[in-house]
Symmetry: C2
Subunit: 536 residues, 2 copies
Amino acid sequence: MEDLARERAQATFDVNAMRILWAGGEEAFHFHNKLASLVAADPVFLKENKPRLTRKELFLGGISKAARCRELAIELGLSEGDARTLRTLRDDRAYDDLHWNMFVPVLRTQATPEQQRKWLPLATSMAIIGCYAQTELGHGSNVQGLETTATFDPSTDEFILNSPTLTSTKWWPGGLGKVATHAIVHARLILEKDYGVHAFIVQIRSLEDHKPLTTITVGDIGVKFGNGGNNSVDNGFLQFNHTRIPRTNLLMRMAIVTREGKYVRQNVPKQILYGGMIAAREIILMEASLNLSRAVTIAVRYSAVRRQFGLDDGSREIQVLDYITQQQKLFPLLATAYAFRIAGQWMELLYSEVMSQFESNDFSGLAEIHACTSGLKAITTSVTADAIEQCRKACGGHGYLCSSGLPELFAAYIPAFTYEGDNTLLFIQVGKFIIKTILNMRRSPIPQGTVEYLTDIDIHTTKCCEVSQDDDWSNSNVILDAFKARAARLALSLSKRIQNFRNQDDGFEELSIDLVKVAEAHCQLIVLSNIALVLH
Amino acid sequence: MEDLARERAQATFDVNAMRILWAGGEEAFHFHNKLASLVAADPVFLKENKPRLTRKELFLGGISKAARCRELAIELGLSEGDARTLRTLRDDRAYDDLHWNMFVPVLRTQATPEQQRKWLPLATSMAIIGCYAQTELGHGSNVQGLETTATFDPSTDEFILNSPTLTSTKWWPGGLGKVATHAIVHARLILEKDYGVHAFIVQIRSLEDHKPLTTITVGDIGVKFGNGGNNSVDNGFLQFNHTRIPRTNLLMRMAIVTREGKYVRQNVPKQILYGGMIAAREIILMEASLNLSRAVTIAVRYSAVRRQFGLDDGSREIQVLDYITQQQKLFPLLATAYAFRIAGQWMELLYSEVMSQFESNDFSGLAEIHACTSGLKAITTSVTADAIEQCRKACGGHGYLCSSGLPELFAAYIPAFTYEGDNTLLFIQVGKFIIKTILNMRRSPIPQGTVEYLTDIDIHTTKCCEVSQDDDWSNSNVILDAFKARAARLALSLSKRIQNFRNQDDGFEELSIDLVKVAEAHCQLIVLSNIALVLH
Ligand SMILES: Cc1cc2nc3c(=O)[nH]c(=O)nc-3n(C[C@H](O)[C@H](O)[C@H](O)COP(=O)(O)OP(=O)(O)OC[C@H]3O[C@@H](n4cnc5c(N)ncnc54)[C@H](O)[C@@H]3O)c2cc1C
Ligand SMILES: Cc1cc2nc3c(=O)[nH]c(=O)nc-3n(C[C@H](O)[C@H](O)[C@H](O)COP(=O)(O)OP(=O)(O)OC[C@H]3O[C@@H](n4cnc5c(N)ncnc54)[C@H](O)[C@@H]3O)c2cc1C
């Protein structure tokens, strides 16, 4: 303890200013603290014995915590955003995360105003509990390959949902296994032909006795990584045996099916869906910085109090934090936590900008914004997943005990690499976007937003680094230029290689490893640019 | 399944020859298979429901499996090595691992022949069960800092073991928490002065009713990483409250304490201890290749049957194994599993060589062998720990379910990074050895064994790479030369920087990150050299 106090007293920066920067403002800081003390004081949120609980106890714990969060949210009149902060603070996942982070936003972006009037009050009052059932046993990344069918029956004005194969079983949706009464189900819309995957709202359990409806087989998919981890969530499976739902349960913002079974595409740009996605990714970014900060805080504090090996003069042993290898393990991660936090805050702003552009029917920047948020999701979750384990290792044996908190942080966090878009696929996608931006530069409008630097690609790929002495590196512009130069050079050289392919897609396939590298360099640049902005 | 069959039919190499190479010979291959089918057929070894068990059930499962292994070993007349293979195959850790891999070997290397006559029959018949109690709450890596004391009481001819501080509590020993009757305890030997840390054999539980002896406080340290993982092992804590043991329980091969309390160093080189260590590290190497092979097998097989995204022509989706990014994730790890296996087999040979050198009192090569085994421990466990998680991620969502096997492989394996020497410290140690070898080259005998290439350091640091076309890289000598050049260049340049320090130790401290890099390059070279040998 005295070691910690001494280290803290030695800070050369304004600690309070850093806290406020992290929280995103003075008010946010105080509000956050208030919620945190509520959680700390409430026995329902106790998590001390989590690693010793059985799966059932874990699940029931999740239920109680979700219920208490809902009570508190009502009691305190919390906004949805603040209620989310409360859920983050309880540090335990439950079905309500999916309800609020997936089910409700999908209704908001994909349901018509009329549908919203029907469903949103039910959802936001939690009179119904929803989950998001997209992934199937056989298809995750390839959403277009989903097999569940929704066939229109004009005689009853219903869709018949069916799971024609084993691999079409819905698999993974959080909240589905035991809790949800309703699901957003992605299924192939079948009229006179197959219109591809669309979203439907489907009741799966009775609102009377909570039993699954007769044509529905549903359950929990089993134990997941870690003692606690995501085992408080009932990720589930779901099979439809000719389940009937009203035609109007197709979410019809993008396209409607008429009473006669006609498919009518609505005059709404497809990109409107991105709005919800950006919101979801903002959550993911914030979770990345939060989880990274938790891990790195534990490891840095431990390293300050852990002493190992003596000085020759026989005085007290050295704090392991003073070993340069230990610093190299932890300090870059500490900085990264702040960097991701800043990027997350920037994404919040971006989101409101995008929303106002939408309102004035301006969708021009969307492809760039989409690539940027995909890239940031991929880079932050990849780095954070690895970083938590790095922090754990840095705590030696103690990091392997659940009492250090690190094993559970890891187990609960790592699926972020996979869900909301597998990171490899996201990087490939971002890489393609960059290469295409370069290849189209002469024909298209000039690159904007996070790819703006590509307009100066000639400069970035030819300019020499101006560093002549060590000190020059403390100029953030120098670092920024170096990252731009790297990103631009990798991208330019790859774009030339891609041009050698007769078929661009073959090139992308063959050079996918380089696409990932291009994307990583680009994403690191985005993060860095954001820090540079804040530093200035 | 048909996907797997087709892939297998397409093998361009002799699969059987590979199997035999892996097993280390035809006979070993058949024997291994025999043991494996015994394990597969025996319900005691069932592990299907492991992720759903409580801590207590896990522990009891470990007990039953250990007992059954012992029965089988007696029934089949297995050698100790073969019994170890059987334990590896059961794929579940228990107290007997520590008994056989730590307790018994320490008796063999550190006890006098007389002591061995007393203790070894008890240990090898498992009439007593031993653990290895070195680490304390306050000291892991810094063994010289251990605080437990063993003070000689000439009036009774006993040592009094004591835990003077909270931090002196023994912490981590596997088997200690519930099972072990005896422990090898590392404690400071106090006579007229403090002689530093020595090993003692201490009874901790009654052989009648298994209760802890009155002056001993002992128990389990709590839940560790993972649903199953190492939670079948009773890693324990231990405090002594003036526990008395006979003087003759000091392991006296290196030094004896006489009836009068005189410390007499024996005429045995300290290095003899390395013998046991090399044996232990051979086990660790074999475990690295085994765990890596398990993970990579799961991921490669999954990638062969998992199909995602279609071809334009609408035919079946593509096996994800055919994506280049997926291959880049898995194929190098597949190769690495073989590389580590070969390195492990080489270490087996090395061990018997070292033993015969010992017998002819030749200890000249020991420092090099010690550095080499430290380095191989560090590189193989570091790579394997990360690789298992890489394999898990490559299985998408399915890798996060315990049913994939990967979460448990990870949770059970990762402490190998930390125990038997924290890898960072091992790399630093190896780095120092290499730099010292270079700096002493003029004065000392020429470097041998794995550092022999340093004799040609001038060549390796000046020679140009002979590659002129892609194909040249398939010549393993070219690759070997490249690795030698890298290792030599890094080492030479660091050795020059170290010479700029007045105090060499300050240099090592300040440049420890580079020491790690030098060591990693060197260790990769060792692994590669071994593959090259087998390929020729
Ligand atoms: C904890 C958790 C919670 C989840 N919650 C939900 C939920 O609430 N609702 C829901 O619908 N889903 C949910 N999911 C599912 C998740 O969205 C999917 O797991 C994810 O989309 C990845 O798909 P997959 O698992 O099928 O992996 P796959 O797509 O099968 O990927 C497997 C491997 O193949 C590689 N690969 C695949 N295609 C390509 C390609 N074209 N090029 C190169 N490589 C390729 C991937 O990189 C990966 O390494 C959840 C998953 C987890 C782990
Ligand atoms: C599953 C498991 C089983 C175990 N079983 C046993 C057993 O049976 N018997 C037993 O006696 N012990 C056992 N141990 C303990 C194990 O040997 C120790 O955890 C290990 O020696 C590391 O020591 P530590 O945990 O004190 O880490 P520390 O030494 O405290 O290391 C913490 C951090 O500090 C860094 N560090 C420390 N010193 C330096 C330095 N000089 N320079 C740079 N960095 C430094 C390390 O790299 C690490 O990042 C077990 C541990 C585990 C996890």
